[in-house]
Protein backbone atom coordinates (compact mmCIF):
# COMPACT_ATOMS: atom_id res chain seq x y z
CA UNK A 1 0.00 0.00 0.00
CA UNK A 2 2.71 2.39 1.05
CA UNK A 3 4.58 1.46 -2.07
CA UNK A 4 1.57 2.20 -4.24
CA UNK A 5 1.00 5.56 -2.59
CA UNK A 6 4.60 6.41 -3.24
CA UNK A 7 4.25 5.44 -6.88
CA UNK A 8 1.18 7.61 -7.30
CA UNK A 9 2.95 10.45 -5.58
CA UNK A 10 5.84 10.12 -7.97
CA UNK A 11 3.47 10.09 -10.93
CA UNK A 12 1.69 13.11 -9.57
CA UNK A 13 4.95 14.93 -9.09
CA UNK A 14 5.90 14.14 -12.68
CA UNK A 15 2.54 15.50 -13.83
CA UNK A 16 3.06 18.64 -11.81
CA UNK A 17 6.41 19.20 -13.45
CA UNK A 18 4.79 18.78 -16.85
CA UNK A 19 2.00 21.19 -15.99
CA UNK A 20 4.22 23.82 -14.49
CA UNK A 21 6.39 23.75 -17.60
CA UNK A 22 3.43 24.48 -19.86
CA UNK A 23 2.18 27.21 -17.54
CA UNK A 24 5.60 28.59 -16.88
CA UNK A 25 5.21 31.84 -18.73
CA UNK A 26 7.41 30.90 -21.64
CA UNK A 27 7.40 32.70 -24.96
CA UNK A 28 4.14 32.53 -26.92
CA UNK A 29 4.03 31.53 -30.53
CA UNK A 30 2.89 34.72 -32.24
CA UNK A 31 4.07 37.20 -34.85
CA UNK A 32 4.60 40.90 -34.28
CA UNK A 33 3.34 42.85 -37.28
CA UNK A 34 3.05 46.58 -36.70
CA UNK A 35 -0.08 48.15 -38.23
CA UNK A 36 -0.53 45.01 -40.31
CA UNK A 37 2.43 46.11 -42.47
CA UNK A 38 5.82 45.90 -40.86
CA UNK A 39 6.88 42.46 -39.70
CA UNK A 40 9.34 42.53 -36.82
CA UNK A 41 11.92 39.76 -36.37
CA UNK A 42 11.31 38.87 -32.75
CA UNK A 43 12.95 35.43 -32.89
CA UNK A 44 16.39 35.09 -34.44
CA UNK A 45 19.27 32.62 -34.25
CA UNK A 46 21.90 33.62 -31.69
CA UNK A 47 25.31 34.93 -32.75
CA UNK A 48 28.42 32.77 -32.30
CA UNK A 49 29.56 32.30 -28.72
CA UNK A 50 26.10 33.07 -27.29
CA UNK A 51 24.76 30.85 -24.51
CA UNK A 52 21.36 30.55 -26.25
CA UNK A 53 20.43 28.97 -29.58
CA UNK A 54 17.60 31.37 -30.24
CA UNK A 55 17.07 34.96 -29.18
CA UNK A 56 13.52 35.90 -28.29
CA UNK A 57 12.15 39.41 -27.82
CA UNK A 58 10.42 40.22 -24.54
CA UNK A 59 7.27 40.84 -26.59
CA UNK A 60 6.67 37.06 -26.67
CA UNK A 61 6.47 36.91 -22.88
CA UNK A 62 3.67 39.46 -22.49
CA UNK A 63 -0.11 39.12 -22.36
CA UNK A 64 -2.20 39.29 -25.57
CA UNK A 65 -3.48 42.75 -24.57
CA UNK A 66 0.02 44.15 -24.10
CA UNK A 67 1.20 42.55 -27.34
CA UNK A 68 -1.72 44.14 -29.23
CA UNK A 69 -0.87 47.57 -27.87
CA UNK A 70 2.54 47.36 -29.47
CA UNK A 71 1.21 46.02 -32.76
CA UNK A 72 -0.98 49.10 -33.32
CA UNK A 73 1.07 52.29 -33.57
CA UNK A 74 -2.05 54.33 -32.87
CA UNK A 75 -2.79 52.61 -29.58
CA UNK A 76 0.86 52.41 -28.54
CA UNK A 77 1.25 55.20 -25.94
CA UNK A 78 4.99 55.27 -26.66
CA UNK A 79 4.23 56.90 -30.00
CA UNK A 80 3.30 60.08 -28.12
CA UNK A 81 6.95 60.31 -27.10
CA UNK A 82 8.06 59.71 -30.68
CA UNK A 83 5.97 62.70 -31.76
CA UNK A 84 7.31 64.81 -28.92
CA UNK A 85 10.85 63.73 -29.82
CA UNK A 86 10.38 64.88 -33.40
CA UNK A 87 9.34 68.32 -32.11
CA UNK A 88 12.46 68.52 -29.96
CA UNK A 89 14.60 67.46 -32.92
CA UNK A 90 13.38 70.51 -34.83
CA UNK A 91 13.42 72.98 -31.93
CA UNK A 92 16.30 75.43 -31.53
CA UNK A 93 17.91 75.35 -28.08
CA UNK A 94 21.12 76.74 -26.56
CA UNK A 95 23.44 79.69 -27.17
CA UNK A 96 24.48 78.55 -30.65
CA UNK A 97 20.93 78.92 -31.93
CA UNK A 98 20.81 75.43 -33.36
CA UNK A 99 18.49 72.45 -33.27
CA UNK A 100 19.40 68.83 -34.06
CA UNK A 101 17.95 69.46 -37.51
CA UNK A 102 20.32 72.41 -38.16
CA UNK A 103 23.26 70.01 -38.57
CA UNK A 104 21.48 66.74 -39.42
CA UNK A 105 19.24 68.19 -42.13
CA UNK A 106 17.75 65.09 -43.64
CA UNK A 107 16.63 63.41 -40.44
CA UNK A 108 14.96 60.51 -42.19
CA UNK A 109 18.09 59.41 -44.04
CA UNK A 110 20.51 60.34 -41.28
CA UNK A 111 18.65 58.49 -38.55
CA UNK A 112 17.63 55.40 -40.47
CA UNK A 113 19.40 52.48 -38.83
CA UNK A 114 21.48 54.74 -36.60
CA UNK A 115 19.75 53.80 -33.38
CA UNK A 116 20.23 50.10 -34.13
CA UNK A 117 24.03 50.49 -34.08
CA UNK A 118 24.37 52.01 -30.59
CA UNK A 119 26.21 51.85 -28.20
CA UNK A 120 29.18 53.00 -30.29
CA UNK A 121 32.79 53.68 -29.46
CA UNK A 122 33.48 57.38 -28.84
CA UNK A 123 37.15 58.12 -29.38
CA UNK A 124 37.08 61.55 -27.76
CA UNK A 125 35.51 60.33 -24.53
CA UNK A 126 37.41 57.03 -24.61
CA UNK A 127 34.31 55.03 -23.78
CA UNK A 128 31.22 53.63 -25.48
CA UNK A 129 28.43 56.12 -26.04
CA UNK A 130 24.74 55.37 -26.09
CA UNK A 131 22.19 57.66 -27.73
CA UNK A 132 21.61 59.65 -24.54
CA UNK A 133 25.32 60.43 -24.15
CA UNK A 134 25.62 61.28 -27.83
CA UNK A 135 22.70 63.71 -27.55
CA UNK A 136 24.30 65.38 -24.53
CA UNK A 137 27.65 65.70 -26.29
CA UNK A 138 25.92 67.33 -29.26
CA UNK A 139 24.00 69.66 -26.97
CA UNK A 140 27.13 70.79 -25.12
CA UNK A 141 29.57 71.05 -28.01
CA UNK A 142 27.45 72.03 -30.97
CA UNK A 143 24.31 73.64 -29.55
CA UNK A 144 25.95 75.12 -26.43
CA UNK A 145 22.92 73.98 -24.50
CA UNK A 146 22.63 72.34 -21.09
CA UNK A 147 23.02 68.57 -21.26
CA UNK A 148 19.89 66.68 -20.27
CA UNK A 149 19.72 65.33 -16.76
CA UNK A 150 19.26 61.56 -16.58
CA UNK A 151 15.70 60.57 -17.50
CA UNK A 152 14.51 64.11 -18.18
CA UNK A 153 11.27 63.87 -20.18
CA UNK A 154 12.90 65.49 -23.20
CA UNK A 155 15.86 63.10 -23.06
CA UNK A 156 13.53 60.11 -23.10
CA UNK A 157 11.37 61.55 -25.89
CA UNK A 158 14.33 62.43 -28.13
CA UNK A 159 16.01 59.07 -27.56
CA UNK A 160 12.73 57.29 -28.33
CA UNK A 161 12.30 59.30 -31.55
CA UNK A 162 15.86 58.54 -32.70
CA UNK A 163 15.64 54.84 -31.90
CA UNK A 164 12.19 54.60 -33.52
CA UNK A 165 13.71 55.60 -36.88
CA UNK A 166 15.34 52.14 -36.88
CA UNK A 167 12.07 50.29 -36.25
CA UNK A 168 12.26 46.82 -37.77
CA UNK A 169 16.02 46.98 -38.38
CA UNK A 170 18.32 44.46 -36.69
CA UNK A 171 20.24 45.56 -33.63
CA UNK A 172 24.02 45.18 -33.83
CA UNK A 173 27.06 46.55 -32.00
CA UNK A 174 30.44 46.96 -33.65
CA UNK A 175 32.90 45.40 -31.21
CA UNK A 176 35.88 45.99 -33.48
CA UNK A 177 35.92 49.76 -32.88
CA UNK A 178 38.27 51.17 -30.23
CA UNK A 179 38.24 49.25 -26.98
CA UNK A 180 34.72 47.92 -27.40
CA UNK A 181 35.91 44.35 -26.93
CA UNK A 182 37.30 45.20 -23.47
CA UNK A 183 34.06 46.85 -22.47
CA UNK A 184 32.19 43.81 -23.73
CA UNK A 185 34.37 41.61 -21.48
CA UNK A 186 33.74 43.87 -18.52
CA UNK A 187 30.01 43.85 -19.21
CA UNK A 188 30.02 40.08 -19.44
CA UNK A 189 31.74 39.82 -16.08
CA UNK A 190 29.10 42.06 -14.51
CA UNK A 191 26.32 40.08 -16.15
CA UNK A 192 27.47 36.91 -14.40
CA UNK A 193 28.41 38.51 -11.06
CA UNK A 194 25.95 37.93 -8.26
CA UNK A 195 25.06 41.06 -6.28
CA UNK A 196 22.80 42.24 -3.51
CA UNK A 197 21.24 40.62 -0.48
CA UNK A 198 19.34 38.29 -2.78
CA UNK A 199 22.61 37.27 -4.41
CA UNK A 200 21.36 37.42 -7.97
CA UNK A 201 23.23 38.00 -11.20
CA UNK A 202 21.57 39.15 -14.42
CA UNK A 203 22.17 35.62 -15.67
CA UNK A 204 20.32 34.03 -12.75
CA UNK A 205 16.98 35.32 -13.98
CA UNK A 206 17.47 36.06 -17.65
CA UNK A 207 19.72 33.16 -18.64
CA UNK A 208 18.89 30.33 -16.24
CA UNK A 209 15.22 31.03 -15.50
CA UNK A 210 13.79 32.91 -18.47
CA UNK A 211 10.41 31.49 -19.37
CA UNK A 212 9.61 30.94 -15.69
CA UNK A 213 7.67 33.06 -13.28
CA UNK A 214 9.24 35.49 -10.85
CA UNK A 215 6.38 35.99 -8.43
CA UNK A 216 3.48 36.92 -10.75
CA UNK A 217 5.61 38.05 -13.66
CA UNK A 218 7.26 36.32 -16.59
CA UNK A 219 11.01 36.37 -16.91
CA UNK A 220 12.20 37.10 -20.43
CA UNK A 221 15.66 36.77 -21.90
CA UNK A 222 16.14 40.42 -20.97
CA UNK A 223 16.76 41.69 -24.49
CA UNK A 224 17.00 45.43 -24.98
CA UNK A 225 15.77 45.86 -28.56
CA UNK A 226 12.60 47.66 -27.43
CA UNK A 227 14.20 50.39 -25.31
CA UNK A 228 13.23 53.03 -24.40
CA UNK A 229 10.14 51.02 -23.56
CA UNK A 230 6.65 52.14 -22.59
CA UNK A 231 5.91 50.38 -19.31
CA UNK A 232 2.28 50.21 -18.29
CA UNK A 233 3.32 50.02 -14.65
CA UNK A 234 4.88 53.48 -14.80
CA UNK A 235 2.55 54.83 -17.53
CA UNK A 236 5.71 56.29 -19.03
CA UNK A 237 8.79 55.60 -21.08
CA UNK A 238 11.49 53.72 -19.24
CA UNK A 239 15.09 54.15 -20.35
CA UNK A 240 17.53 51.26 -20.44
CA UNK A 241 19.63 52.57 -17.56
CA UNK A 242 16.52 53.11 -15.48
CA UNK A 243 15.63 49.46 -16.12
CA UNK A 244 19.16 48.30 -15.26
CA UNK A 245 19.02 50.22 -12.02
CA UNK A 246 15.56 48.83 -11.27
CA UNK A 247 16.79 45.26 -11.74
CA UNK A 248 19.87 45.82 -9.59
CA UNK A 249 17.78 47.52 -6.91
CA UNK A 250 15.50 44.47 -6.88
CA UNK A 251 18.48 42.29 -5.97
CA UNK A 252 18.81 44.63 -2.97
CA UNK A 253 22.20 45.90 -4.07
CA UNK A 254 23.43 49.47 -4.27
CA UNK A 255 22.97 50.46 -7.90
CA UNK A 256 25.53 52.36 -9.98
CA UNK A 257 24.72 55.80 -11.43
CA UNK A 258 23.21 55.98 -14.92
CA UNK A 259 25.80 56.13 -17.73
CA UNK A 260 28.54 55.07 -15.29
CA UNK A 261 31.28 52.83 -16.68
CA UNK A 262 29.64 49.78 -15.10
CA UNK A 263 26.29 50.36 -16.73
CA UNK A 264 27.80 51.35 -20.07
CA UNK A 265 29.79 48.09 -20.10
CA UNK A 266 26.60 46.22 -19.25
CA UNK A 267 24.77 48.02 -22.07
CA UNK A 268 27.45 46.97 -24.57
CA UNK A 269 27.26 43.35 -23.47
CA UNK A 270 23.48 43.11 -23.15
CA UNK A 271 22.96 44.79 -26.52
CA UNK A 272 25.30 42.20 -28.04
CA UNK A 273 23.22 39.46 -26.43
CA UNK A 274 20.28 40.63 -28.55
CA UNK A 275 22.24 40.84 -31.82
CA UNK A 276 19.93 40.48 -34.80
CA UNK A 277 16.65 41.18 -33.02
CA UNK A 278 14.77 44.01 -34.72
CA UNK A 279 14.41 47.36 -32.98
CA UNK A 280 10.90 47.65 -31.49
CA UNK A 281 11.16 51.11 -29.92
CA UNK A 282 8.79 52.10 -28.46
CA UNK A 283 8.02 48.59 -27.22
CA UNK A 284 5.14 48.14 -24.77
CA UNK A 285 5.71 46.02 -21.69
CA UNK A 286 3.89 45.24 -18.46
Amino acid sequence: MANRTKRIATMFAAMMVGTSASLAGGPVDDKLVIDGELEINTRVPAPEGHPFDELISGWHYRTPETRDLEADSFQNPGMLYVERGEEIWNTVDGAAGKSCASCHEDAETFLKGLGASYPKWNEEAGKPFNIELQINQCREQNMQAEPYKFDADDQKALTTYIKHQSLGMPMHVDLSEGEMQDWWEKGKELYYTRTGQLNLACATCHENYNGNYIRADHLSQGNVNGFPTYRLKQSAMVSLHNRFRGCIRDTRAAFPPAFSDDLMALEVYVTWRGTGLDIETPAVRQ
Binding site: F74, Q75, P77, L80, L232, S235
Partner: protein, 108 residues
Protein backbone atom coordinates in the same frame (compact mmCIF):
# COMPACT_ATOMS: atom_id res chain seq x y z
CA UNK B 1 4.69 65.43 -21.03
CA UNK B 2 3.78 68.82 -22.31
CA UNK B 3 0.30 70.09 -23.21
CA UNK B 4 -2.18 67.23 -23.74
CA UNK B 5 -2.36 66.36 -27.39
CA UNK B 6 -5.36 64.58 -28.87
CA UNK B 7 -4.99 62.04 -31.67
CA UNK B 8 -7.88 60.53 -33.61
CA UNK B 9 -8.16 58.02 -36.41
CA UNK B 10 -11.23 58.19 -38.63
CA UNK B 11 -11.47 56.72 -42.15
CA UNK B 12 -11.40 59.46 -44.82
CA UNK B 13 -14.41 58.03 -46.61
CA UNK B 14 -17.16 55.49 -46.07
CA UNK B 15 -20.13 54.01 -47.91
CA UNK B 16 -23.53 55.45 -46.92
CA UNK B 17 -24.84 53.54 -43.90
CA UNK B 18 -21.46 51.98 -43.17
CA UNK B 19 -20.41 51.34 -39.58
CA UNK B 20 -16.91 52.69 -39.08
CA UNK B 21 -14.43 52.29 -36.25
CA UNK B 22 -13.10 55.40 -34.59
CA UNK B 23 -9.99 55.40 -32.43
CA UNK B 24 -9.02 58.23 -30.13
CA UNK B 25 -6.18 58.83 -27.72
CA UNK B 26 -5.08 61.83 -25.72
CA UNK B 27 -1.80 62.32 -23.90
CA UNK B 28 -2.66 63.07 -20.29
CA UNK B 29 -1.16 62.02 -16.94
CA UNK B 30 -4.61 61.24 -15.39
CA UNK B 31 -3.35 62.06 -11.90
CA UNK B 32 -5.70 60.13 -9.62
CA UNK B 33 -5.58 62.39 -6.55
CA UNK B 34 -4.58 59.43 -4.38
CA UNK B 35 -0.82 59.70 -4.74
CA UNK B 36 1.53 61.64 -2.52
CA UNK B 37 4.66 63.55 -3.48
CA UNK B 38 8.06 63.13 -1.81
CA UNK B 39 7.09 65.49 1.02
CA UNK B 40 3.98 63.45 1.74
CA UNK B 41 1.53 66.01 0.35
CA UNK B 42 -1.39 64.78 -1.70
CA UNK B 43 -0.92 65.44 -5.43
CA UNK B 44 -4.17 67.09 -6.52
CA UNK B 45 -6.40 65.13 -8.84
CA UNK B 46 -6.23 66.08 -12.47
CA UNK B 47 -7.95 63.86 -14.96
CA UNK B 48 -9.94 64.08 -18.16
CA UNK B 49 -13.44 63.70 -16.75
CA UNK B 50 -15.53 63.77 -19.90
CA UNK B 51 -15.15 62.75 -23.51
CA UNK B 52 -17.65 63.46 -26.28
CA UNK B 53 -17.78 62.70 -29.98
CA UNK B 54 -20.33 64.54 -32.13
CA UNK B 55 -21.16 64.05 -35.78
CA UNK B 56 -22.66 67.12 -37.47
CA UNK B 57 -23.73 68.41 -34.06
CA UNK B 58 -25.31 65.17 -32.88
CA UNK B 59 -23.69 63.19 -30.06
CA UNK B 60 -22.65 59.72 -31.21
CA UNK B 61 -20.56 58.73 -28.22
CA UNK B 62 -19.89 60.25 -24.85
CA UNK B 63 -18.60 59.08 -21.51
CA UNK B 64 -17.56 60.26 -18.06
CA UNK B 65 -14.23 59.13 -16.73
CA UNK B 66 -13.14 58.51 -13.16
CA UNK B 67 -9.78 58.50 -11.40
CA UNK B 68 -9.10 54.81 -12.02
CA UNK B 69 -8.62 55.37 -15.74
CA UNK B 70 -4.92 55.12 -16.59
CA UNK B 71 -2.74 57.70 -18.29
CA UNK B 72 -3.20 58.55 -21.96
CA UNK B 73 -6.81 57.31 -22.19
CA UNK B 74 -7.61 55.40 -25.38
CA UNK B 75 -11.18 55.13 -26.66
CA UNK B 76 -12.39 53.00 -29.51
CA UNK B 77 -16.00 52.96 -30.66
CA UNK B 78 -18.18 52.55 -33.75
CA UNK B 79 -20.44 54.98 -35.54
CA UNK B 80 -22.83 54.64 -38.46
CA UNK B 81 -22.25 57.18 -41.21
CA UNK B 82 -25.24 58.07 -43.41
CA UNK B 83 -24.04 61.40 -44.79
CA UNK B 84 -20.78 63.31 -45.24
CA UNK B 85 -19.83 65.52 -42.37
CA UNK B 86 -17.48 66.28 -39.52
CA UNK B 87 -16.69 64.39 -36.35
CA UNK B 88 -15.93 66.69 -33.46
CA UNK B 89 -14.07 65.27 -30.46
CA UNK B 90 -13.98 66.99 -27.08
CA UNK B 91 -12.04 66.15 -23.92
CA UNK B 92 -12.79 68.08 -20.71
CA UNK B 93 -10.05 68.41 -18.11
CA UNK B 94 -10.52 68.82 -14.33
CA UNK B 95 -8.85 72.24 -14.55
CA UNK B 96 -11.54 73.38 -16.97
CA UNK B 97 -9.41 73.13 -20.11
CA UNK B 98 -11.15 71.73 -23.16
CA UNK B 99 -9.18 69.95 -25.87
CA UNK B 100 -10.84 69.63 -29.24
CA UNK B 101 -10.13 68.21 -32.64
CA UNK B 102 -12.15 67.52 -35.78
CA UNK B 103 -12.08 65.04 -38.66
CA UNK B 104 -14.01 65.19 -41.92
CA UNK B 105 -15.47 62.18 -43.65
CA UNK B 106 -16.91 61.87 -47.16
CA UNK B 107 -19.58 59.42 -48.23
CA UNK B 108 -19.58 57.80 -51.62
Amino acid sequence: MAEPKPRVKVPKKAAAGEVITIKTLISHPMESGQRKDKQGNLIPRQIINKFTCEFNGQVVFSCDMDPAVSANPYMEFSAKVNEPGTFKFTWVDDDGSVYETEKKITVE
